[in-house]
């Protein structure tokens, strides 16, 4: 009976506080023991302050949110939002519901978030910026800042979507994310396909000479297909990465070594 009078509504300013806290702190406390646990708890503190007023309750809530947590940082606001809605309704009476929601969502959200907001995001944004930077265009260094600020907006939206829809929408939401993921993959692959001829400029400087006859190998290759050597290097790397015991660090040394040898022999240049 007394519980209902104790429940205080979370308002917009609390949500904003959580938003700024998660933006600053969800990842910074990342550690090998509880991963994002510290950052998650940090982000929830405005809510804890609002909802719980006894020392025991506060301590209980802090401990609940310091538990192991890890997901994609862009998706994290969604889970925070859903958590806030749950605790606003039920307080700490149903800790299991909070826990199972967090654990249930963090895995799938990590997978989909890391694909869309890390892998594909980076592929598109940094392909374009690197291309511009290679041309000496300072905008190459500024472009990632613009897209990063756009991501702030996405995170803010996710916090509210999570709060309003809670667990209900999770499955429907991940369906529409799945479609978005595929569309983003298409864009990502088109961009990295174009990246090969745009940024890898290696060719064959070797000129065949016998008596009067000179043949420029590069010219002949270009007639068949432009950027033949870059494509070959990418495919070689792709193939090597698929082999057992191959790591990207090993591949760096293989390419470094290959470049030195073929460059010194004037086969590539």
């Amino acid at each position: 009976m007394t519980d209902s009078t104790q429940i205080k509504k979370i308002d917009k300013s609390d949500m904003r506080k959580v938003y700024w806290r998660q933006l600053f702190g969800i990842q910074v406390g990342w550690n090998y023991e509880k991963m994002m646990g510290l950052g998650y708890c940090y982000s929830m503190i405005p809510v804890i302050k609002k909802l719980y007023n006894t020392k025991e309750k506060i301590s209980e809530a802090l401990k609940l949110h310091l538990q192991f947590f890890n997901t994609n940082p862009t998706m994290a606001p969604f889970i925070l939002g859903a958590d806030i809605a749950l605790e606003e309704k039920m307080g700490l009476e149903n800790k299991d519901a909070v826990n199972s929601m967090k654990i249930g969502l963090m895995g799938p959200f990590a997978g989909i978030g890391d694909t869309i907001f890390v892998a594909i995001y980076r592929a598109i944004v940094f392909s374009i910026s690197a291309y511009l930077a290679l041309e000496g265009n300072i905008f190459g260094a500024i472009f990632p800042i613009i897209t990063a600020v756009a991501m702030w907006w996405v995170k803010y939206k996710f916090l509210w979507i999570g709060y309003h829809q809670g667990q209900k929408i999770a499955s429907g939401f991940s369906n529409s994310l799945q479609r978005l993921n595929e569309a983003a993959t298409i864009l990502g692959l088109i961009v990295i396909g174009a990246l090969i001829p745009s940024v890898i400029t290696v060719g064959v400087p070797y000129v065949y000479k016998r008596g009067e006859v000179t043949m420029e190998l590069q010219g002949m290759l270009d007639k068949i297909m432009p950027s033949m050597v870059p494509v070959a290097v990418v495919l070689l790397s792709y193939w090597l990465l698929g082999r057992k015991n191959m790591t990207s660090t090993k591949l760096i040394f293989i390419l470094l070594f290959l470049g030195i040898i073929l460059g010194a022999l004037n086969i590539l240049g």
Partner: protein
Amino acid sequence: MQILLISLYAFISDVDGLTFQMGLSNAIFAGAFTGIVVGDIKLGLAIGATLQLMGLGVATYGGASVPNYKAAAMLGTAFAAITGQSIEFAIGIAVPVGILLTHMGTLVRFVNVFFQHKAEKYADEANLTGVSRSNALCCLTWGFGAAIPVFLGLYFGSEVVGFVTDKIPVWLLTGLKVSGKILPAMGIAILMRYLPLKKFYPFMILGFAIAAFLNVSLVGVAIIGFAIAAIWLMIKNQGLQVQSQDEGGDIDD
């Protein structure tokens, strides 16, 4: 002075990368910033871009440790400016440095366990500010974890690099140039492994063909790609709507 400025950037950008993510923490910006400090921004942009391309497919998924391309961009740009060597040479030097620094991130994540424990203690006492402070203090571990290696690398590295460049044979220099040119292929290859290439490979061929045969700039290809992705999304959404209408009809019957 320059060393301090670059180290300060290393500190701030690493914290930014873990907090607000304003886009300061990447090899391109690192190269550009170092370039401005040493007086050659184009050099920094080019070195940063090449290293960023190498790391295109590599990210810290779930806290994995990856080569530190950002520190590599800073050190590479500084060394190239000091020695007057080519961009490709700088990359050849910077890449092993980046690999060497892979484990700084691992170290920081271990140190942060200490703050997690502190926070748990504060939680027992219901000390909200204590928990907040524990999390915020992790900024320091990240910042110093990034700034100290860069500072040491710049402070002691320049002489070593200067010495090495005096002795380095010409064939090795030409070779390193080629290495610098082919290393971006790795970033692309890693992405090809990560993305569902088997299902969507025609789109990659399409992107390649537009750029290689029609000489469209990458920005142009990205816009075409965006349109294609949007069209694909429309078709897909329409398909789903038709499907759900059909299902709805069945239930009504």
